[in-house]
Symmetry: D2
């Protein structure tokens, strides 16, 4: 079975997030990884487009029970019908989780991935989390480029 990497990010993202997502998708596909994403617009569409441009496989794990609003670059679509509970499914499905950009939905995916604690979680841009004393909560690997994001997963070390 191929390596799987979940890529999370907001529907409404910045241009930089979108560009980063496209490049992360392309790099993952070049290394033969299957990309798991939320299947809609924004970061989800960009990572799918990037992976597809390199001939990769992209799975869209949708919140809706049907294919409405799914982006056009998915190889496989899983219309879960479980709403935002699909965020945890995405968090569970990667050998690593890469988070690009920030939103409440994206934060829930990051938190659920850290909660299960089974795989590396890498963050490129987006929000920061501080504990009650104002210190960064440890665990997430912060990077500043798509190349570093892949490296930080440790999957190709």
């Amino acid at each position: 079975m191929a390596i799987q990497v979940s890529v999370c990010g907001p529907r409404d993202c910045t241009d930089e997030d979108e560009s980063n997502a496209r490049e992360v998708g392309r790099l993952l596909a070049e290394r033969g990884a299957v990309v798991i994403c939320g299947g809609y617009a924004g970061v989800m569409a960009a990572v799918a487009a990037g992976a597809r441009s390199a001939g990769g496989t992209v799975v869209g794990v949708l919140s809706r029970p049907d294919r409405e609003q799914a982006n056009p670059d998915l190889s496989v679509v899983i219309p879960t019908g479980v709403g935002e509970a699909r965020n945890g499914i995405i968090a569970n499905s990667g050998d690593a989780v890469i988070v690009i950009g920030g939103s409440w939905g994206t934060l829930s995916e990051l938190a659920l991935a850290m909660r299960h604690g089974r795989v590396p979680v890498v963050q490129l841009g987006g929000w920061r989390i501080l504990d009650h004393e104002g210190r960064p909560v440890p665990g997430v690997r912060h990077v500043s480029s798509p190349e570093e994001a892949l490296e930080a997963t440790g999957l190709w070390a």
Copy 2:
């Protein structure tokens, strides 16, 4: 995007179910369809093995949050962590649903596929459902061979 067909069936299945599942998997892969299944043993393992033998893509939508007990022939694995709620996800994910053999879990998948009513549901062997007057509840397409199962989906008409 490729056609997707969900194939459901019990972990503890008969030899005939297993043989049917393997052949359904093989035929689906030959026609280029992605197979969606529950990812564990029995009918799930047989349809995966059949599809893989013909070079097909098989997605295992697991109840567990990890890959334990997943069968070895999956191309993509989605460890949902939502328990039996994953049965509805499988029912939602096909352009058609093929049910092979009978068990309570399998019946829940058949019922959920009929409940959403969006795609053809085909049954090969397994249980029968009668209404309160003893008449077969209409809707499910009953067939008696793997070839008929694919034909009854109407996807290649």
Copy 3:
């Protein structure tokens, strides 16, 4: 903690189902049991109305993420937002499961309750399930009145 009984049944039900559901709700409340139901119309509304008429507690486990279409007799509402996956939650939540009437959604609840196999499942009216040789699949306790339904749960033996 009080005894909890899940009562399942279709939105579009017969007059007899509705009358049975109302009486089951009333009897459960009289015995101090909390009623768990799907929270919408038909059997779900009737069992809630019956329980409330006797001062009982009724929990509606909704498929939607909000309270739209919830019936007016719920004491507590759980808007799961997980769609039909809520059927399994209802099946999990009772010390017994009583099924009244038949529909595909209802059948999925019955099947999921039998699948987990932890509690008695009682059926009043509705559909019948036969195995591949045409024999009734064992396990469900069939009854013909609301009083018998409560008795068959074994919870007040």
Copy 4:
């Protein structure tokens, strides 16, 4: 139907979190609100104990499909069996959400409540979220005592 308030917080919490949770539970019960919580130890157990001490109703929405590890102060138990997907169900079930203390699971509940955006979200202690420019992400109402937490919900204004 009574007002419902979801209270989220970690299993492994500080003494202060536990004391706050107990007091929040007591105050909610005194005002007649139903408390929705995750049903296990730590903040979840403390809020349940507090509410029960004042005669309140407490619903435990469990990740497991059974009642193992549930705390002893629940009035109603919903063993969802959907794992961490139950976090979103808790976030959906309150007319307000009060978050006490910090953990990754707790953060996912806060994020999912902010994601759906339907009700006030109040935070007492715990983690802070900054955007990519280091500014607090707006929306969560931060308070410093149980009394202020109830006031900040706006439900009794």
